[in-house]
């Protein structure tokens, strides 16, 4: 029995799983077969991947952490002293 081909709509819904390597092997094969014959979906996949990279670059992900400005260190230490050593634990649930 032949397995129905993947549609453009299905492919686009599977993009996340495909990029994370979570698409089952048989669906992966159909996904890649569809890409070979559908330039629109190929364009969509490439631009989707570039969008992910664009977000990372725009938000400076992966760049070296800045040094902590000395005035911010002073402000935090001053706020800590105002908070006091006996302040009860806050809402942090870490």
């Amino acid at each position: 029995m032949s397995i129905p081909k993947m549609t453009c709509q299905q492919l686009i819904e599977f993009i996340c799983d495909y990029l994370e390597g979570e698409l089952p092997q048989d669906q992966c094969a159909h996904f890649e077969m569809h890409l070979e014959r559908c330039p629109c979906c190929k364009n969509y996949l490439v631009s989707y991947q570039q969008t992910i990279q664009a977000g990372k670059k725009a938000c400076c992900q992966g760049e070296r952490p800045p040094s902590m400005p000395s005035e911010l260190i002073q402000a935090i230490m001053a706020a800590r002293h105002q908070q006091g050593p006996d302040a009860s634990a806050g809402d942090c649930d870490c």
Partner: protein, 200 residues
Amino acid sequence: MSSSITQDETALIAALQKGDDAAFEQLLLNHGGQVLAVTRRILGNEEDARDATQDAFLQAFKAIDRFEGQSKLSTWLHRIAVNAALMKLRRQKRHPEISMEQLLPKFKSDGHATELVGAWAPTAAEQLASKETRALVRQKIEQLPDDYRTVLLLRDIEELDTQQTAEILQISNGAVKTRLHRARQALRALLDPHMRGDAA
């Protein structure tokens, strides 16, 4: 304590738990830059990032007694920084949000797209690295509805996994995956007119 904690870190944690002032300052020097980087990435402006950084460290100072060393100090602080930034994000003045519906691809009943999808310019990768385009991308991220924007920031920018993101946002893993995909699709659609090879 976990073997992932170094000896230096063990000593620092012990001093912090005793309330040692010098230890708190050392914590800021060692990890302040990392926390500030997280809040900058999520909040996108320096004033809010610094406020959230202060909030994060004050939370950390209060909670240090409960730190058991199951993870590295940097991992623990990262989680606190993300939470502090998200709280600030919810209080930010927002640009008008766009409707997701208009940004998602449309399909015919046979599963084909209703519109052709053109390629982005061959120079798109270089373009995306420029300062102007980065500012544009940041602006478009700001336009996404809150529920989608936060998932995008946590998964793609902070690189938390699905489970971690679900725990922070108190939603299901499935909801994280769906919102992430929709957020990326919407951002792609917002960037498309600027990145197309045939753009005027």
